[in-house]
Amino acid sequence: MASATKPQSTASGVFFEGETARNTRGLLRIIILCTIAATAVASRLFSVIRFESIIHEFDPWFNFRATKYLVQNGFYDFWDWFDDRTWHPLGRVTGGTLYPGLMVTSGAIWHALRAISLPVDIRNICVLLAPGFSGLTAFASYLLTSELSDSPSAGLLAAIFMGIAPGYISRSVAGSYDNEAIAIFLLVFTFYLWIKAVKEGSVMWGAFAALFYGYMVSAWGGYVFITNLLPLHAFVLICMGRFSPRLYVSYTTWYALGTLASMQIPFVGFLPIRSSEHMSALGVFGLLQLVGFTDYIRQQLPSKQFQLLLRTLVLVIFVVAFGLLVLLTVSGTIAPWTGRFYSLWDTGYAKIHIPIIASVSEHQPTAWPAFFFDLNMLIWLFPAGVYMCFRSLKDEQVFVVIYAVLASYFAGVMVRLMLTLTPVVCIAAAMALSQILDTFLVAGEPAEPIEAPSTKTNDAKDKTVPGIPEVLRSTKGPLVGIYSYMSKAMITGAVTCYLLLFVMHCTWVTSNAYSSPSVVLASRLPDGSQHIIDDYREAYYWLRQNTKPDAKVMSWWDYGYQIGGMADRPTLVDNNTWNNTHIATVGKAMSSREEVSYPIMRQHEVDYVLVVFGGLLGYSGDDINKFLWMIRIAEGIWPDEVKERDFFTSRGEYRVDDEAPPAMKNSLMYKMSYYNFDKLFPAGQAQDRVRGSRLPAQGPELSTVEEAFTSENWIVRIYKVKDLDNLGRSHQDAGAFEKGNKKKKAGKRKGARVLRVD
């Protein structure tokens, strides 16, 4: 805090002097920051107020379940947690395959509150963790921006931008208990510490950066962004000829300690020295040693010999290092690039090679309107802010430029990475806006109107002449147009309008787009009142209350975490998509005929199958619309048995009506979705409201599964898998016999009779 107020006090030292004034401003600043934090928290509470204190979406349900496990069983059990209720029957080494930062944070808060006799339900801590940390993020961005800009208002603006920008709110509303909830705070704070370390060249700040980097690694897989951004910053600084002992000290401290810290996370383990994503950090570490060494030699040698030495040295080392990298990658010592990484560079890569990654909506490329939607006016202030960084290109400004370029690219590639772009946009926009305000807002000091232009000219000209009134008065004449009250008021008014609009936009977006729990769907009745569609929870609670505690539920992986969290039943696959084959197995069971699916379900001991069907309500996120991904993923493993082509009509259409191809009509998923659906309508008039097509007059028939439960609006349908037939017949035969169809007699068959051998 004290360090943050320092630059501001020098910049506006003309107006306020003395220790008291500084303290007053410091207090004011704290009050403003607290208000910003409160605003950040408050704007994230829409969902709790509108609905209830509930965990949202999919991944948060797992995090919540893991947190409960941590709280109940303690840290060591959590660390060694083998989860036998997911990925049946493989299980999951959950303790070693998650980022524990989030759960440990909540657990620590829970224990801390208990220690001071405040027993709070762990669910409420989980629900409110993200808003709480968003307040901290606002504070962290204040610190970071204050390091970057001399302007007194930049930090505060960045804080409030960060506090309410929808790009960040989208992942941190109350109930959105995901890794990003704390990771963005850690990201911004680590950057702040890094900038501080580079600026001061201090081991302490570097160690703090490493500490928070370690925390970040424990919290989110997006830590790789830091792992690559900091080395890139260092590398660019070296290339700009700005190698300094400060850089050397801060980088080596951060790298050594940060890498060690990151290796303490079981999920990361030896990745920092083996995987390609981490090689740049190692490479820059090596480069820094070399540059430091040559720097030392240069001081010892005459310059001519030094030039020669340097050239050969650089060449040799580059060739050797590159060759070594290629060799290690080819030999497999360094893990090759992962698919997710490739898809960062080629947006079409995942679609062709890894359907499971492409099937996730948040891995899709960002649509252009999304930038404006998530960032509003910040997106056009952002380039201005980056330009401002070029004007005074110090080490820390270089960092912002690099961060801006990289994050813009990644945000364009993947919707999810909008999250990493948001902080830099907020910072840059705050710098730009504060520049404008600093230039014009001096009108806010009507007592000293003459002083106003003085600062302006100071900025515009040279900072070496701080306030010589005589000279400035003489130049007052030509500048009168810009410094009139009128123009000040206009600009100030315009900026205020923009800010107000921004606040309104952010509130609107938060309220309308990002505050739905997605577990509960809200719709409007004709009279405008809110109608809650609660089919998911209805179905999950049905499972919880009506099935054996170890009844295995098969569903598409999207619902795995929710079933585990809400229904507390073992699932076959879930949103932690670690085993593609297992997911493909479920995809195959869903997309095959019953006779093929049944043995698969038996083998995996499936008791219930859950499908999501939106045809009655017009809910478009249902399984029939996701069906193509199941087919594609299954085809990736069994190209001979499941073929995507078979599910399209001859004209290449994806249909569910009369003209649907046989593969489609016979698939388990289709049958389970539309089973008995025609009975809701007059004969032959069954209508699917999502696909907008009329269904066949004759509905599908099921033989190996039987309907167990259908929710109120038919969104969730649960089927029970039948046991083997008591008489050893196939279910189709048994069903036909039940209906009274006589079995065809074996009669006289052609060819040799197959004799029974006892």
Binding site: D80, D84, L724, L727, E738, G740, K743, R756, D758
Partner: protein
């Protein structure tokens, strides 16, 4: 579950001193009262063994196999009806439900009357085929009874088959069993639930006396493919027995004198009475009923913690299962037939271990045999089953699944680094580095140049 219920039932049955493991109520479907006396010896035998016999005609409108949705009788004996069908109370669907309810059926056929279509379609569901023309019977020109069927050769005299290795022998009797006018059955070759009790001789064939020529040209079945008596056990171990010749149970054949063609055999008494007793014993679950008593698994070194829910990879595990067998009036230790073994699978998706369980006399108590083994869990974590599935001909099925979790090594279960000799260079490397750094710092600080030649500040 099934077996505990069974045991409960047994408790009640002990009072009535019945011999079946499942219950003593027996429903006999016989069309004419007059025919009842033909089987008097058989009824007397059954009653003597404790069965409460209810006789009903298929035409009886009050006849119902079910009471409150549960089977009303434990056993059903269907004698061939005179009329064409079995009526609305004995449709194939009801009979299947009766089996699914866990009750046993002994179906007797006769070539005297045409087999009802209802029976035919029921048998088809069990994968048992009867000749397409419904009056065919089995003839054997080499193994018929000279006394009674010198002309027609339709009374078969069949000795008990040689016992097979690994299959229990419940039906062997001394001497010949007469099967007059038998309906031959052909068993489907796919169903493992079917087994043959009595097969026709190699020279037998199925012949329709009403269509003289055609049957001989292309017989429905020949030789040992023809079954005279066959057995079906459903997945719930309900027994369905098909006896090709109902006459074999009649008094006339219980002590008839028969003679085989050829010189070797002299005229002798049939063993039908003994066979009928053996057959009804099996069909009504007096023998060959298995029960799981107790299943225990534990770590090999820690046998106190019985049936834990979780193991670790590479644990040594001991597993034992106690099985007893119902033998007419008591539970006795079960011993698999020679050449057979009870096997344990330790499986996840597919078996990782399939081990034959050993029984030792020391662990056998008075009514159950303990089968046990020890093995090491595979190096694969997951949700595993201790799975014993014992399905053998003539024994009721045993299926026991104990689900356990096999977890990975916890972080503190690996050997410490200093216990691994290969790690010593690395460990010493670490300490050398640390020591070197400390030494360097110490030397550096010691050799710091004194600035103002003041020893006080240098020391500070």
């Amino acid at each position: 579950m099934r077996f505990t219920l069974l045991g409960l039932l047994l408790g009640f049955l002990g009072i009535v001193s019945a011999l079946s493991a499942t219950g003593s109520s027996l429903l006999v479907i016989i069309e004419e009262e007059a025919d009842k006396s033909k089987y008097s010896q058989f009824w007397a035998d059954l009653q003597g063994r404790g069965y409460e016999i209810t006789y009903r005609s298929p035409k009886d409108t009050n006849l119902s196999l079910f009471l409150h949705g549960e089977p009303a009788y434990s056993h059903l004996l269907l004698l061939p009806p005179k009329s064409k069908g079995l009526g609305p109370n004995l449709t194939p669907n009801l009979l299947v439900d009766f089996i699914n309810g866990g009750s046993n059926i002994l179906l007797a056929l006769s070539a005297e009357q045409a087999v009802p279509t209802a029976i035919n379609s029921l048998l088809l569901e069990l994968d048992i085929n009867l000749p397409s023309d419904r009056t065919s019977l089995v003839v054997d020109h080499l193994a018929y009874d000279l006394t009674s069927s010198a002309e027609k050769h339709d009374v078969l005299l069949i000795p008990s088959a040689e016992p097979k290795k690994g299959v229990v022998d419940f039906f062997s009797v001394d001497g010949l069993v007469a099967f007059p006018r038998a309906v031959g059955q052909v068993l489907g070759n796919a169903s493992p639930m079917l087994s043959s009790i009595v097969k026709a001789g190699a020279s037998a064939y199925i012949y329709n006396p009403k269509e003289e020529t055609e049957g001989v040209e292309d017989p429905f079945a020949t030789g040992s493919q023809i079954n005279i008596v066959s057995a079906f056990q459903a997945r719930n171990s309900a027994r369905f027995t098909v006896l090709g010749s109902s006459e074999a149970l009649q008094d006339t054949w219980f002590d008839a004198k028969v003679r085989l063609p050829g010189t070797d055999y002299k005229a002798g008494k049939t063993s039908n009475k003994e066979f009928a007793q053996r057959l009804s014993e099996w069909a009504f679950k007096e023998i060959g009923v298995l029960r799981v008593e107790q299943v225990q698994h534990s770590l090999d070194e820690d046998t106190k913690d019985i049936n834990p829910k979780i193991y670790r990879v590479k644990n040594d595990v001991r597993y034992s299962i106690e099985i007893s067998e119902w033998d007419v009036d008591q539970w006795i230790p079960f011993n698999p037939p020679t050449g057979d073994a009870v096997q344990l699978e330790f499986s996840m998706l597919s078996p990782f271990h399939r081990l034959s369980l050993n029984s030792s006399p020391s662990t056998t108590n008075k009514d159950a045999t303990a089968f046990s083994t020890t093995f090491r869990t595979p190096d694969q974590h997951g949700i595993f089953n201790f799975y014993v599935e014992y399905r053998r001909p003539f024994f009721t099925a045993i299926e026991d699944k104990q689900t356990v979790t096999v977890r990975h090594f916890a972080h503190d279960e690996f050997p410490r680094s200093y216990e691994i000799s290969a790690a010593w260079p690395w460990i010493s490397g670490i300490w050398v580095t640390i020591g070197g750094w400390l030494a360097f710092v110490a030397i550096w600080l010691y050799s710091k140049p004194t600035r103002d030649n003041k020893p006080a500040s240098a020391k500070k």
